[in-house]
């Protein structure tokens, strides 16, 4: 889609564009005066053209630019106000349709700093993992706001057992499923693993609370233990439960390093199911 005039005005850098526009307008005006002999019959249209050029250039100048463009062109936009049918016309009077009543209003939208965030590249589209699987927890409780709540029994304030998880949408050709549970907020600046389980059959669609199927391989959590443990120091914490579908088996050994396995998983897995659960302590 072609950029719209409004966005153009705001997105482009003002100073250079405006000054370039002014310069160009002056040069054009000078050329016309010299070359056309300054004929009076053409002067208004010449003026309009020059002003429009300046206006366009100024118009590319972001909010500040737009502001200066308004002052500079003084209606050179020739806006057919309210008609909605046309763009600023080339032949309109230089003082024609300036929104005179609006002089009390300056630009209100702040000039953005820097460049817009980059769009998504083709490579990113291909390589990123898609949350194509649904993951839910029959153990969770409804919450008035934000993610669902993790009951205390699944934390160190209770029995500390793992919650039940249920998922759907495992893609065909999956060789292994891996579960990671992480704190959304870092602990001491690092990603904190509460639970890491590998070696799960692709045919599996759920794990019961406090239980794991045969063949499950437990990784070492952030507390240094091979198992599940959710125990925030105090306050509210959000936990992200994820189940990844792997196109080939990674089969790590018991007590594996979840950080290293996650790196391998992200390299090969294109599908994940995610679930956020929150717990407030104290």
């Amino acid at each position: 889609m072609a950029p719209k005039p409004g966005a153009k005005r705001l997105l482009n850098k003002p100073a250079k564009a405006t000054s370039a526009g002014v310069f160009l307008a002056l040069v054009l005006a000078a050329l016309m005066l010299l070359g056309c002999g300054g004929g009076s019959s053409d002067s208004s249209s010449s003026g309009s053209t020059a002003a429009e050029t300046a206006g366009d250039a100024g118009g590319t100048g972001g909010t500040g630019g737009a502001s200066s463009a308004n002052g500079m062109t003084s209606g050179a936009n020739g806006a057919e106000k309210g008609t909605g049918s046309g763009r600023p016309s080339a032949g309109s009077s230089a003082n024609g349709d300036q929104p005179s009543a609006g002089s009390k209003h300056g630009p209100r939208v702040a000039q953005p700093k820097g460049e817009p965030e980059p769009g998504i590249t083709q490579q990113q589209r291909q390589e990123a993992t898609v949350a194509s699987m649904t993951l839910e927890s029959p153990s969770s409780q409804a919450s008035s706001a934000g993610p669902q709540a993790l009951p205390a029994t699944y934390t160190c304030d209770g029995k500390g057992t793992s919650p039940a998880l249920r998922w759907q949408g495992v893609p065909q050709g999956t060789a292994e499923l891996v579960i990671f549970t992480m704190n959304v907020q870092p602990v001491e600046g690092k990603l904190f693993f509460d639970w890491a389980v590998a070696g799960l059959s692709p045919d599996l669609t759920e794990v019961e609370a406090g239980k794991l199927p045969r063949g499950a391989i437990l990784g070492r959590n952030g507390f240094g233990k091979a198992g599940y443990e959710v125990c925030p120091p105090s306050g509210a914490e959000t936990y992200m439960f994820t189940v990844f579908a792997l196109p080939r088996k990674l089969s790590p050994s018991q007590g594996f390093d979840p950080s290293a396995l996650r790196k391998e998983v992200l390299n090969i897995s294109g599908n994940v199911g995610l679930l956020a659960l929150s717990y407030t302590r104290g």
């Binding site: 889609m1 950029p3 719209k4 005039p5 409004g6 966005a7 705001l10 737009a66 308004n70 936009n77 806006a79 057919e80 106000k81 309210g82 008609t83 909605g84 049918s85 349709d97 929104p99 009543a101 609006g102 209003h105 630009p107 209100r108 939208v109 702040a110 953005p112 700093k113 820097g114 460049e115 817009p116 965030e117 769009g119 590249t121 990113q124 390589e127 990123a128 993992t129 898609v130 949350a131 649904t134 706001a145 934000g146 993610p147 704190n183 959304v184 907020q185 870092p186 600046g189 690092k190 990603l191 509210a236 959000t238 992200m240 992200l266 994940v272 995610l274 679930l275 956020a276 929150s278």
Partner: protein, 206 residues
């Protein structure tokens, strides 16, 4: 019996008149885009731009230092309509270990319309479609697409010519954004101005 039939007929007519009047008043009360107090004729392009606006989900907030939306607006049968045609975002980051690798709004235009709830006017944007790719080795969402979809309602304040999106405005308009199976909270106050035919004119909704 005959007088009773007449009473019934008269009652029905009265009810019909009252209903018609009620609908007519509702129709006339529909909010419209106005410039300098006059209803917009034709189309205009407006730009809403917030200095810092954030999308919160998963206990994490993604903030953009400049968060803009551009809307082509018009009045249809007295009601303000529009379509969001672009959403450039500047300098986005999170309050966690995640970085914003890429963020892009897609499938424009997003239909928009004005809506009155109680005595307040709202801008409701439908079909929101934003993709976010987070990065960072310590980011729990690293490498995973967060696809923000849904409808967003923002409160319009004529005095300040702003649209404010927050949980209250979402609740009032019954709108919701969602990503990765979770509700997404959008907070931001957007000063708004016209950029084509009505530049520098006071924009209001009523």
């Amino acid at each position: 019996m005959r007088p009773k039939a007449i009473r019934v007929a008269l009652g029905a007519m009265l009810a019909a008149i009252m209903l018609t009047a009620a609908f007519a008043s509702t129709a006339s009360a529909a909010p419209a885009w106005k410039f300098e107090g006059k209803a917009l004729e034709g189309t205009e392009t407006i730009l809403g731009g917030a200095e810092k606006s954030g999308l919160s989900m998963w206990g994490m907030t993604t903030t953009c230092d400049n968060f803009l939306y551009e809307v082509d607006i018009k009045n249809e049968a007295g009601t303000g309509k529009g379509g969001v045609t672009s959403l450039p975002l500047f300098n986005c980051y999170t309050n966690s270990t995640c970085t914003v690798e890429a963020i892009e709004a897609e499938t424009f235009p997003w239909p928009a319309e004005l809506k009155t709830v109680s005595t307040s006017n709202y801008l409701v944007i439908k079909n929101v479609d934003v993709w976010i790719l987070y990065g960072g080795w310590f980011c729990p969402l690293w490498g995973v697409w967060a696809h923000v979809t849904g409808t967003a309602g923002g409160l319009i304040d004529n005095a300040t010519e702003t649209a404010t999106f927050n949980p209250s405005s979402f609740k009032a308009t019954g709108t919701e954004l969602e990503a990765l199976g979770e509700s997404v909270e959008w907070n931001g106050k957007f000063p708004t101005e016209a950029f084509e035919w009505h530049r520098n004119q006071a924009l209001s909704v009523s």
